[in-house]
């Protein structure tokens, strides 16, 4: 069974590129355009990994991360934060809130795949 991955980002073109990349590698891909949608989709679809953008409408990535970690049912969901803000404080904030990994935009597609695989334990 292929692993399910949710991409949560409001930048259309970034979503397109990551979606293409992950599908090509054989993952099942879901997409959310804002924080609230992302949270809802995690609850209903139970993806294995969430790629979470920080700057999103309605609910930012940090809040989504916090909400996910507060839900014991979702403990197995891996979270990889993706953000264009590369400051150290933001990285530690994300990890502090329970994210499993952190990548700064722009990222290398190979590294992104490697990170996703590592989180999935493949």
């Amino acid at each position: 069974m292929s692993k399910k991955i949710l991409i949560a980002d409001d930048e259309q073109n970034i979503v397109i590129s990551i979606e293409f990349l992950l599908r090509r590698e054989g993952f099942e891909v879901l997409v959310a355009g804002d924080g609230e949608e992302a949270l809802a989709k995690v609850r209903t679809e139970r993806p294995d990994v969430v790629l979470l953008d920080v700057m999103m409408p309605k609910m930012n990535g940090f809040d989504v991360c916090q909400a996910l970690r507060a839900d014991p049912d979702l403990g197995g969901t891996r979270i990889l934060m993706l953000t264009a803000k590369g400051r150290d404080t933001e990285i530690s904030k994300g990890l502090g809130l329970g994210a499993d990994g952190y990548m700064t935009k722009p990222f290398s597609t190979k590294e992104l795949l490697a990170e996703v695989r590592k989180l999935l334990g493949i």
Partner: protein, 925 residues
């Protein structure tokens, strides 16, 4: 009820009360809780100025010369109101140098000269003794008047003299005892008498109450108010002459000279110097006294004229002396209580003056006359180290008795020879001789001992010749030939028309010639030679007294001394136990915790000298200290050098103060600047963070697509083309972002180029709408225009304006619902400007976001499913452009009903303002 025993008992009881107050005051002072530390007490104590001469004599003078009594009180009022600085400076000098009397002050100023101190003392004693006898006389005659009650019998030689002699002798002796107890309780390093001051303040209050009471009684009970008395007086031929402002000949000159005389007296009379300067506990009290004391003088003068007129009307041709009206008017009305109150008031006025004056004079006689003589002839035997404090106290007590007995003697001799007022003025004229040496000494560095001696001597001689001797002659003690024919028959030397000067009264005449001689000799002799070392040193201590740091006495001393010698010396005058306490307190102040000081440096020598100065006067203290210390005299050059250094130090310290103020201000400014910088730094950080975020976002897409294309050469052609297209558009977004960031930075920093010219706004709008028509066509709509004809031109940069319009139009296009959108651009005239509006019927903007959208990188996207495209810089740039052009850009919106962006631009030519047209309705309104 007014029999002798009653009067005597009452008088003694009153003195007993004073005694108790004084005793209590001293006790409290010893306990460190002063009862006189109040400006009101200070002002009341200054009212010792008002003696029986005021209490009884003002009415007498008013009965002769109308308001001629007034200048005696106007002078002090002016001095207190305008001359506070003079008093303040004297207080500072006295405190800093432990000066004990006016003789000590002058002697100290001119190089601690014994000769000068002695001369001042002699002038003071000779000048003041008649004044003291005047008090004895007034008190005595009030007693004898009282004893003849209910008859009013003028005291004269034949009937009451024997009694009067006894009374005045007793009065003198009682006062001497009182003065001795409170004036010379112990020798003090500051020569202050708190108990005495408290008693004097009480006396001032009592005499004021008494005088006001009799004034009110005469005005409102004997007569029917001021108006009544003055009406009566006006209808009386004899009184009419008193009603003119300046009645007698020589008018204004005499007034002026009386004012000058009394102004000098209130500062330099020994008793005034004592209460106002030596006894001052806090120099801020001077401020309150500056109006309280004149107020006191005003109050005590309010009823003088009514009483004088009342007395003249009441006792017309009965031979009652006007000097007694204050007492005889209540007596004539059989008002015993008031009569006794007035008597006590007069007693207060007399005793107050005598006590303070005698203390001041006895200090001067002891320190400046007798001590120097004893020192010179080594009569004190100070080689054998005896405790001399009792000797000193003995001298002072003896001086008090002698002075009062001299007063009594003068009273016996002069008797009825001269009116009260004249004697007072003779004393005033004598102390006026101190003025040049005092004032010159405080403000002129060039004054010398020789000058002061010459001035005082010349003034004193002229005073004696023109005023004292004629008064003797008028009393019949001297042949009065020289009065009418001049000394040795020389007409020019007639003492009261000296060198043919006429038209003045005798007081003005004396004041003129004596002060002329005094000032002339003082300045003339001072200019003869430059000040010597000791004079220059003291001149600087006095003249610079108010300047904060100046050279203190210690700066002018060089030599060697033993601590034990100094302490022993002080002990001999103040008592060994007291000296020990003072020295160990000094040691503790200097940082020797054990109270033991081992080395006698210049400061300790100075300290010992100032302690001695408080007890025996500065000149004698100088001599005594020199006797135990091995001194090396300073040359005038060295003194000048010290003074130069001191003045440099002063300049330097002022410079330092200024610099320190500037530094404080600079630090504050720096702090503010730093805070601003930090704020700017935070803003810059935020902007940098936003900019990098905005840059990274398109870069992320570009990199991802590029890598996908690179890694998959066999990608479908359609995907390949789609990805390449996205790469290109993201790259365009990136360059747009960079351009706009730079553009905004340029506008904000003021480095943007502006090509302003007169523009037809309609034409610019049409051009912009044409450029964006494709955007609207894609959304299935077009832009409606409402551009009235004949709008005046505006002054603006065409390209920038088009940039704003394109931004607003493309924003409108971005949020339009396809095929349902409507956009309308309107132009209208507002006062002094044109207003453009761009209205759409898109989703609108929530009120809380209507300002946020004008901030950098603040796209408001959370109401929509997707983030709006664009850089987030369009509106901030547009607003800055419009503001630069002198207009305003804002948005009005109801969410769900669309948004209307409006901006104004000022007209190129300011015209008359037209009435405001109806506002253009926004869409959906």
């Amino acid at each position: 009820m007014l029999e002798a025993p009653v009067v005597i008992c009452l008088s003694l009881a009153y003195l007993g009360v004073l005694f108790a107050v004084a005793w209590w005051g001293d006790k409290r002072a010893d306990a460190g809780r002063s009862i006189i530390a109040s400006p009101t007490i200070y002002a009341l104590s200054m009212a010792v100025y008002c003696t029986t001469w005021t209490f009884y004599g003002s009415v007498g003078r008013a009965a002769v010369s109308g308001i001629g009594f007034l200048p005696i009180y106007l002078g002090p009022t002016l001095v207190m109101a305008l001359g506070g600085f003079l008093l303040l400076k004297m207080i500072r000098i006295v405190k800093a140098n432990r000066i004990t009397s006016i003789a000590d002050f002058i002697s100290s100023r001119y190089g601690k000269s014994h000769l000068l101190g002695g001369l001042v003392t002699i002038i003071a004693v000779v000048g003041i003794i008649p004044y003291i006898s005047l008090q004895l006389k007034a008190v005595t005659s009030s007693v004898s008047l009282l004893l003849s009650y209910p008859d009013i019998v003028m005291p004269d030689h034949s009937t009451t003299m024997s009694l009067a002699e006894d009374v005045s002798l007793y009065v003198a002796l009682i006062l001497a005892a009182f003065t001795i107890v409170f004036g010379t309780r112990h020798l003090d390093a500051t020569e202050r008498h708190e108990g005495m001051v408290a008693a004097i303040a009480l006396e001032s209050a009592v005499k004021l109450v008494a005088f006001l009471s009799v004034g009110i009684f005469v005005t409102y009970f004997v007569f029917n108010g001021f108006g009544d008395i003055f009406e009566h007086a006006e209808s009386d031929a004899g009184l009419q002459r008193l009603m003119t402002a300046i009645p007698s000949g020589g008018g204004y000159t005499n007034w002026l000279s009386l004012m000058i005389l009394s102004a000098l007296a209130v500062l330099f009379l020994p008793r005034q110097f004592q209460v106002a300067v030596v006894e001052n506990v806090n120099e801020t009290h001077v401020k309150r006294a500056a109006w309280l004391f004149p107020l006191y003088l005003l109050l005590i003068n309010v009823f003088v004229l009514p009483i004088a007129f009342g007395g003249l009307l009441h006792f017309a041709d009965q031979g009652v002396d006007a000097d007694t009206f204050v007492l005889t008017l209540p007596m004539s009305q059989r008002h015993e209580g008031l009569t006794l109150l007035v008597f006590i008031g007069g007693l207060s006025a007399g005793t107050g003056m005598v006590i303070v004056e005698t203390i001041a004079l006895s200090t001067m006689v002891c320190n400046d006359l007798i001590m120097p003589i004893l020192l010179r002839y080594k009569a004190l035997g100070f080689e054998d180290g005896r405790d001399l404090s009792f000797v000193l106290l003995g001298i002072r007590r003896g001086a008090i008795v002698v002075i009062l007995l001299l007063g009594y003697l003068y009273f016996r001799l002069a008797g009825e020879a001269y009116a009260l007022v004249a004697i007072g003025l003779i004393s005033f004229s004598a102390v006026a001789q101190f003025a040049p040496a005092m004032i010159g000494g405080m403000y002129w560095r060039g004054g010398t001992r020789g000058g002061a001696l010459a001035g005082l001597g010349a003034g004193f001689i002229v005073w004696t010749y023109t005023l004292l001797l004629p008064s003797f002659a008028k009393s019949g003690w001297l042949p009065d030939d020289f009065l009418t024919h001049g000394l040795f028959g020389v007409e020019l030397l007639r003492p009261q028309q000296l060198f043919g000067l006429t038209g003045f009264d005798e007081i003005s005449h004396c004041l003129f010639w004596s002060l002329l001689a005094n000032i002339g000799a003082y300045t003339g002799f001072s200019l003869l030679r430059p000040p010597m070392a000791a004079e220059a040193a003291q001149a600087s201590v006095f003249v610079d007294a108010l300047k904060g740091i100046g050279p203190v006495g210690a700066a002018f001393w060089r030599g060697r001394a033993q601590v034990s010698d100094l302490q022993g010396l002080v002990g001999r005058f103040l008592g060994p136990a007291r000296a020990k306490t003072l020295f160990s307190a000094y040691a503790k102040r200097r940082g020797h915790a054990d109270g033991v000081i081992s080395e006698a440096d210049a400061q300790l020598v100075q300290f010992a000298e100032s302690l001695l100065a408080g007890a025996i006067g500065s000149a004698s203290a100088r001599v005594m200290v020199a006797s135990v210390a091995k001194e090396e005299p300073l040359s005038i050059d060295e003194v000048m050098h010290i003074l130069d250094e001191a003045s440099q130090l002063r300049t330097y310290s002022r410079e330092l103060e200024r610099k320190s103020r500037e530094l404080t201000a600079a630090t504050l400014e720096l702090q503010e600047a730093n805070e601003r910088l930090q704020e700017l730094d935070r803003v810059k950080d935020d902007i940098m963070s936003s900019v990098t975020h905005e840059l990274r976002t398109p870069l992320t897409s570009i990199r991802a697509f590029s890598e996908l294309l690179r890694d998959d050469p066999k990608m479908h052609l359609a995907d390949r083309e789609r990805f390449l297209g996205l790469i290109v558009s993201e790259a365009e977004r990136l360059s747009r972002l960079i351009n706009q960031t730079l553009d905004l930075a340029k506008i904000e920093s003021g480095r943007a180029d502006w090509n302003s010219g007169e523009l037809d706004l309609s034409e610019v709008i049409e051009q912009s709408v044409a450029a964006t028509s494709e955007l609207f066509r894609e959304k299935g709509t077009f832009v409606e225009l409402d551009l009235p004809e004949g709008m005046p031109p505006i002054l603006a940069d065409r390209d920038r304006l088009i940039q704003v319009l394109l931004n607003l139009l493309s924003n409108a296009a971005k949020f339009l619902t396809p095929n349902e959108g409507r956009v309308r651009v309107s132009l209208r005239r507002v006062p002094g400007a044109l207003e453009v509006s761009v209205a759409d019927n898109g989703p609108g903007i929530r009120p809380e976001h209507q300002e946020v959208i004008f901030e950098k990188f603040r796209q408001v996207g959370d109401t929509m499913t997707a983030k709006p495209s664009g850089t987030g810089l369009g509106l901030p740039i547009s607003r800055r452009i419009i503001e630069h052009l002198g207009g305003r850009l804002w948005v009005e919106s109801v969410p769900g009903e669309g948004a209307t962006f409006r901006f104004t631009l000022p007209l190129a030519v300011v015209e008359e303002e037209n009435p405001l047209p109806e506002p253009i309705p926004a869409w959906g309104g």
